[in-house]
Structure formats: C-alpha cells, structure tokens
C-alpha cells in the first residue's frame, strides 16, 4: 500500500536537470523512477557535419565533463583514421583529463555532496558544528579552500588546454600544445600546490597514507582532515547501508597511454573480473521518450518521441550489457583496478559511503598519477601526429569520465558524420527501466531509503542521489 507519491525537484547540486518520483510505503521508498527532463539532441546535431567538428561540438554537451567528451571524440576519430596519439601526446592528454576528473571529484565532495550534512536536520549530531563550519553552502571554509585549490590546479589547463571548459587541445594524434621545459616545471609546481591543499585540508595527512588504506575498517579510523570528518559522520549515520548498489561495475579503463591505461578496464560481476563486452551493449528505449528499436550504439538512432508517451518517463535511454544494468564511476574504476579499499567497500555493500570514499581514494591516487605524468613529460618529443580522415569508416572512443564509462560510436560516410551515438556514465547509472521492467542502478539503490514523516524532499534520497555524482546534461546529451 503506497502511503505517498513524491516528486522531488528541482534537484540541485547535481549537474543538469533531474526529477525523482518516489512511491513511499511504511516510511521507506518502495519504488523510484528517475526522470532526465531535458532533451537537446547532440547526436542529431552532429549528423552531416565534418567529422572533425565532433571535437568542437561534443565537449559542449557538458560543462563539467567537457574534456572527457573531448577525449572520447578524439579516440573515436582516431580509431576511424587508424591514428594513435604519440606517446608524449597521450601522456599530456592524460594529464589534462586527470586534472578535470580530479577537479570534478573535488567539486562534488565540497560543493555538491557535503553541504547536505550542514542542514538543521542534523543539528543534534556531535559533528554538525564542524561540518557547518567547513561545508555550509557558499560559506564553508572547506568549500572556499577547495574552490581556490581547484582554480589553481586548473592553471595546468590554462597552459596545456588553453582554457576550461571546452578545449580543442585534445586531438586524435595528440595535443595541440607542446609544453616547454620551463612549463613542465611550472606544472609540477602547480601539482605540489595542490598536494599541499590535499594534505592540509582534505586528508590532513600524506596522500600516500590514504592510498595505503586497505579496508573499510581502516578507512573509518582515518580521523584526519575533511575526509576524516566525512568518515566520522558516515559511521554515525551508517551511510554504508544507505543506497547499496547491485555490485555490477563497469570501467572502460582510464588514461590510455602507450603502455596501457593507468586504471584498468573491466566488468566486475559476482565478485569476479572479466573484460567488458561492448558488443553486448544494448540501449533500451522502452521507457524513454525515444522512437525506434532498442539497439547497439553502432546501430542506434536518436528520434525523440514528440508526443512524450505516457508509458515512458525520461529522455534517457537505458543501456544494458548482456541485458543487465551496470554501475560506473570512481568506485567501479577502483574496484576493477583492484584497489583493496575499493574492493572492500564494494564487498560491504557499495552504498553511499563506498561511492564517496572511493572518490576520495581516487583523488589521492590521481594526485600521484598526475605527478608521475608531469615528471615524465619530455619537451623534446613529438606531441602530435596526423593522418587523413577516411571518406568512409567507423570508430569507437571509450574513456573514463569522472563519473564513469563514456563511449562515442562514430560512423563516417562520404566524408561526413553519418551516425554519432553516445552513452555517458550517468546514462548507465540513472537509466530508466528496460523492457523487462528492470530498474536502473539509481532506481534500485533508492528502494528502501527512509522517508521521515512530513519529508517531501527526503534527505536520505538526496544523499543517495548525490553519492552517484550524476551528470544529467551528459546523460541526455
């Protein structure tokens, strides 16, 4: 028996437009439907254009995952050309991408996720005063420091990518801007500045020590910095049990370089790792306001249902691999890469705690990666090579955005884009139901979330939704 139906929105501190429909029974969510209420039609805009235009248009799908879109487009074009970036070009592209992903994680933690714990509903909790001081929206000292650290880290993007967001610096054959020896040392200096912020504010201890955490129990005892504050309140509120995932994780592998990706690709299912089978991807449109049949993205179309039929409820298609929904993001990436903390967080439920702690872990690991990437820049090397575009061809670009697996499927005919299909991370995570009625990962994770009497925008629902760090503008593209 449903006690109440709630429509939650506007849902802010997520990127883009999100509306969540909840059926509430006995003080808990019995069923959820996730609506992405925006249609723009980027895949349609690309049809008929010069293939190179994808590098200008696709970053503008999203102002927060802009470089991820850029990287995926470059890989898809490169695949169609049979062109790889030079080793040093790949290195600089990886560094550019890592800066964006790190900034996104930071923005999520300080500006999007944590302010909810400064709400009056938690005023009786022992940690509330400290959280309010650090994380109150637009005011908290932690949020302010993070904003400054983020802007300064992005000086690396000013230098290597011209600006952020929306750069054209990442190309199929490498990058447009060769760093000089003096710029290489400046980049390393920027990274040392960011490390100072991490070790003073976020971790309160050496980055390496956080990377060395090997279990959820060990993480819960961390005790330093803003990470420690989060872990303390997570224990108090039992965020480990909130919003548990399905335990099936996807990663396309992050930061491809000459000697392989920095974080491994894979599909994690039933506690076992195997290679993702991208041929088994199907985008189901049964509950999306899209016409046409469910299809693999290489054959997919984007035909909006102008009538917005009643049996559908989102502009988001429902991607499935082998018929099953998958969760992606920092937790998925770190589980698949085999980090012991991430594996343990997933084994213990993969809920709100796990998603957020894995993001913190990834900030720490990516700091080490960025330092290594910058260290290895060789200003004497080539950073770009070129090849002609084929008149006809196809290519796939698979990358990892901050929020997870991002794929571009491109087909070129007669020198122009014939088809361009995109599956973004939050398309996976916030997909609607498929034809079998199987809910998307967020829809499933919301079931059981507590709803207190009188709550119309349930706080637990907000924590769960934001723990995924959704990017809705990418979702619908």
């Amino acid at each position: 028996m449903t006690d109440a139906r709630l429509v939650v929105g506007p849902f802010n501190r997520v990127e883009g437009d999100l509306e969540v429909h909840l059926d509430v029974t006995d003080g808990a969510v019995a069923s959820a439907r996730v609506n992405a209420p925006l249609f723009r039609g980027f895949e349609r805009m690309l049809e008929g254009r010069d293939p190179r235009d994808a590098l200008t248009i696709t970053p503008r799908i999203c102002g927060i995952c802009s470089i991820s879109q850029s990287a995926a487009a470059a890989r898809a074009l490169g695949a169609a050309q049979g062109l790889d970036p030079t080793p040093q070009g790949a290195r600089v592209a990886a560094l550019i991408h890592a800066v964006e992903n790190t900034c996104d994680h930071l923005t999520h933690f300080y500006l999007f996720f944590m302010p909810d714990f400064a709400r009056p509903v938690y005023s009786a909790r022992p940690w509330h005063g400290q959280v309010a001081e650090r994380f109150t929206a637009m005011q908290g000292s932690g949020a302010r420091n993070a904003l400054t650290a983020r802007a300064k880290l992005m000086h690396i993007l000013g230098l290597l990518a011209g600006k952020w967001p929306h750069t054209l610096a990442i190309q199929p054959g490498g990058v447009t801007r060769r760093p000089s020896a003096a710029e290489r040392v400046r980049i390393r200096s920027d990274l040392r500045g960011f490390r100072r912020f991490l070790e003073r504010d976020l971790f309160g201890a050496p980055v390496e020590d956080f990377v060395a955490l090997a279990s959820q129990d060990a993480a819960m005892d961390w005790g330093h910095g803003d990470a420690g504050l989060f872990l303390r309140l997570a224990a108090d509120l039992d965020l480990a049990a909130l919003g548990r995932g399905g335990g099936r994780y996807l990663s396309f592998g992050a930061y491809p370089m000459a000697d392989g990706p920095a974080f491994a690709p894979g599909l994690w299912q039933n506690g076992k790792l195997r290679a993702p089978d991208t041929d088994a991807i199907l985008e189901d449109v049964s509950h999306a306001w899209m016409l046409g049949a469910s299809a693999h993205p290489s054959q997919g179309v984007t035909e909006p249902d102008l009538d917005m039929r009643d049996t559908a409820y989102s502009w988001c298609k429902a991607p499935r691999m082998g018929g099953r929904p998958l969760e992606c993001g920092a937790l998925a990436r770190q589980v698949i890469d085999g980090h012991p903390l991430a594996r343990d967080l997933a084994a213990q439920g993969g809920g709100v705690l796990a998603r957020v702690a894995a993001r913190l872990l990834e900030i720490a690991r990516t700091q080490l990666l960025m330092e290594e990437l910058a260290q290895g820049i060789d200003p004497e090397a080539r950073f770009m090579q070129r090849a002609d575009l084929p008149r006809d061809g196809q290519g796939v670009g698979l990358v990892e955005a901050a929020r997870g697996a991002l794929g571009h499927w491109l087909r070129i005919e007669d020198g122009h884009i014939k088809s361009y299909q995109i599956i973004a991370p939050t398309t996976w995570n916030f997909s609607p139901r498929d034809a079998a009625g199987t809910p998307g990962p967020l829809e499933a994770a919301l079931v059981g979330a507590p709803v207190a009497p009188g709550e119309d925008t349930p706080i637990a629902v907000q924590h769960i939704v934001r723990s995924f760090d959704p990017c809705m503008v990418c979702t619908v593209h």
């Binding site: 849902f11 992005m154 000086h155 000013g158 190309q171």
Partner: protein, 330 residues
C-alpha cells in the same frame, strides 16, 4: 541585490567557468558587491520544495528579483510546448518559468552564447527548437520579444561566450549592482562593451606570425591559424588574449583556433571549425574593419617580407629559431 540563476538548455559550463574565478573567488565577489544569491542550481543548499517556494514567491512579487541570470538556451519544442525542458518538480517548462519571471526582474542577464542567441544547443537543425532569451541566432526576438526591456529600461544583457569568462560575468553583475551599466555600454548584440570592444586578436601570442602571414598548416604548429586552420580571432569580439583564462591560457595560446564563440550563430559556421574556407585558394573572411584590397595588398607584401625565422617557426611545434640578439651600440 537578489540574484536568481536558472540553468536552461545548456551544458552548465558557464557556471563551471564562473567557479574558476580567482582573487577574489565567485562567492567573495558576489558578497562584496552586495549580491545575495536567492538560488543557484549548482551551489545553493536548497532542493525540491524549498526551491519551488522561492520561485513561486518571486513570481507573486513577494521577493524582489534584481538580477535574473539564465544560462542555456530555451527549448521551445516539441511543437511549441517547451516540454523538451521541464523545470523538474514544478510541472512547468523552463520556457514558461523564464517568460513568467523575466518581467519581474530589474535586470535579465543571459549568461553564455546559448542563453544569448541559442548557441550550440541550436546547432545543426536545432533538434529542440531552442532559442536565446532575446535573440534567435542573429535575429532580434527570442523567447522574449525584441522590444523587451527590464525594469531599468535595458534589454537582456548578453554575456556571450562558450563558455563565458568568469570575469565577464562577475564584472557585468558588479556593474549592474553599482548602477553603472547603461544601454550605451552594450554593443549591437547587447554584449557588454567592456569585453566586446576588443577582438580576440588583441594580444594574441601569434601576432608576429600574423603580421607576416607566417601560417601554421596543422594544429600544434606555432604559426598564425587564420589562413588555414579556421581562426577568426581578427573578427571575433572578446578580450580573451588580454585577460587570460585559467591562469595564463587562451584558445590561440593553447594551439587551436578562435571559433567566434561570442557571436550569434557561431555553432554553424558552414565549414569545419578548424579549416579556413577558401575561394580560389584565397581565405574567405577579412580582419574586422580591414578593406579587402588593402588586406590583399598588405598580405602579399608581408608574405614576401616574412623573415626566415618566422617562416621556419610557423610550421614547427616549437620555436626552432630564436630572434637575433642585438648587442647595444657602443
């Protein structure tokens, strides 16, 4: 002053860019200007019913709306309903909200080229039938009519750019809070002249290459990108090479062309963004205010006079040949 910010049909990148403001950061800048944020979708606390209550009170005139910032184009489809973007939780389209709230505003600010003119959201055949607030591309009149004026008598202020520079947005808001931005301070597309009276060419690090028409032939080369690589910095408004991005950056210093992102209809240039269209081998498009005959004459003269240093460096990815160092006259 009260500020309300809505994200319409766009990428959110202008907000992300705004968060890159430095010394002071965005929150200090707004606070120092006496601007109170009623609600912003990316960084305010309020969600759901709390936000709906604020929007409804503004609409009823119970909360004064001084600065109404809209980021993103306004979707009008399907079939004129605006339902391609519903403001979640409200059962109303963003088009409906924007047209309902704009008349209450002392100033309406279109943040970014999408909100101003439609921008990338209207690329290709404009699948969502989107438009800017007061322009549809370069044409007067968007979801607000061409004769719309805010309570102070100004049209929608178009802080165009893709994305916008944080300084453009903050200075516009600070000028408005100060009562110091009038109709004469806007250009013919209603862009604030403090940045729109400049060209991207001004201060471009490739200027010496431009002077001698020493051109890059491929992306990543040092030379001027006007002749072959689609750069329209000599025709595009913006102080991008005077006021750096993210520390010290700009598109051209990043090694890729200016694509005219502060202008209406930049999203459909009718050629590949990174390739200069040519007629009989001669690039189409003249530097702003340059008579064609003189440009042709000067270009051929300067090309003939190109120093070997520039010719060589133009097609290299690094400065192979340094400038000659002169000794002081003794």
């Amino acid at each position: 002053m009260n500020l309300l910010w809505l994200q319409a049909s766009g990428c959110g990148g202008c907000t992300m860019s705004l968060l890159c403001a430095e010394d002071p950061d965005v929150f200090d800048s707004l606070q120092d200007a006496g601007i109170t944020v009623l609600w912003h979708p990316a960084f305010s606390l309020e969600s759901g019913t709390e936000v709906r209550a604020t929007l409804e009170r503004i609409e009823r005139g119970e909360i004064p709306l001084d600065l109404f910032c809209v980021e993103g184009a306004i979707a009008r489809g399907p079939r004129g309903t605006g339902r391609f973007q519903m403001l979640s939780g409200t059962g109303r389209s963003m088009m409906d909200w924007v047209t309902a709230l704009a008349p209450h505003a002392r100033h309406v600010v279109a943040v970014g080229s999408c909100a101003a003119y439609g921008g990338v959201t209207t690329a290709g055949d404009n699948p969502s039938d989107a438009a800017g607030l007061q322009y549809e591309g370069a044409h007067d009149g968007g979801v607000l009519p061409a004769d719309f004026r805010d309570k102070s008598g100004l049209p929608v202020i178009n802080v165009a750019g893709c994305p916008t520079h944080p300084g453009w947005v903050l200075e516009t808001l600070m000028l408005l809070a100060d009562g110091a931005l009038g109709a004469d301070d806007l250009d013919s597309y209603a862009r604030p002249r403090f940045y729109a009276d400049h060209l991207v060419h001004h201060g471009c690090s490739k200027n010496e290459f431009y002077e001698y028409k020493a051109s890059a032939t491929e992306l990543s080369e040092m030379g001027c990108m006007m002749e072959h690589l689609g750069c329209v910095g000599t025709q595009t408004v913006g102080d991008c090479n005077i006021r750096p991005w993210n520390g010290a950056g700009s598109c051209t210093s990043g090694g890729y062309p200016c694509i005219n992102c502060t202008a209406p209809e930049f999203e459909n240039p009718r050629h590949a963004f990174t390739q200069t269209p040519k007629v009989a081998g001669i690039p189409v498009g003249l530097p702003t205010d340059m008579p064609k005959a003189w440009f042709m004459a000067l270009a051929s003269l300067s090309k003939a006079a190109t120093p070997p240093r520039l010719a060589e460096n133009a097609t290299s990815d690094r400065l192979d040949v340094p400038p000659t160092v002169r000794k002081p006259r003794s």
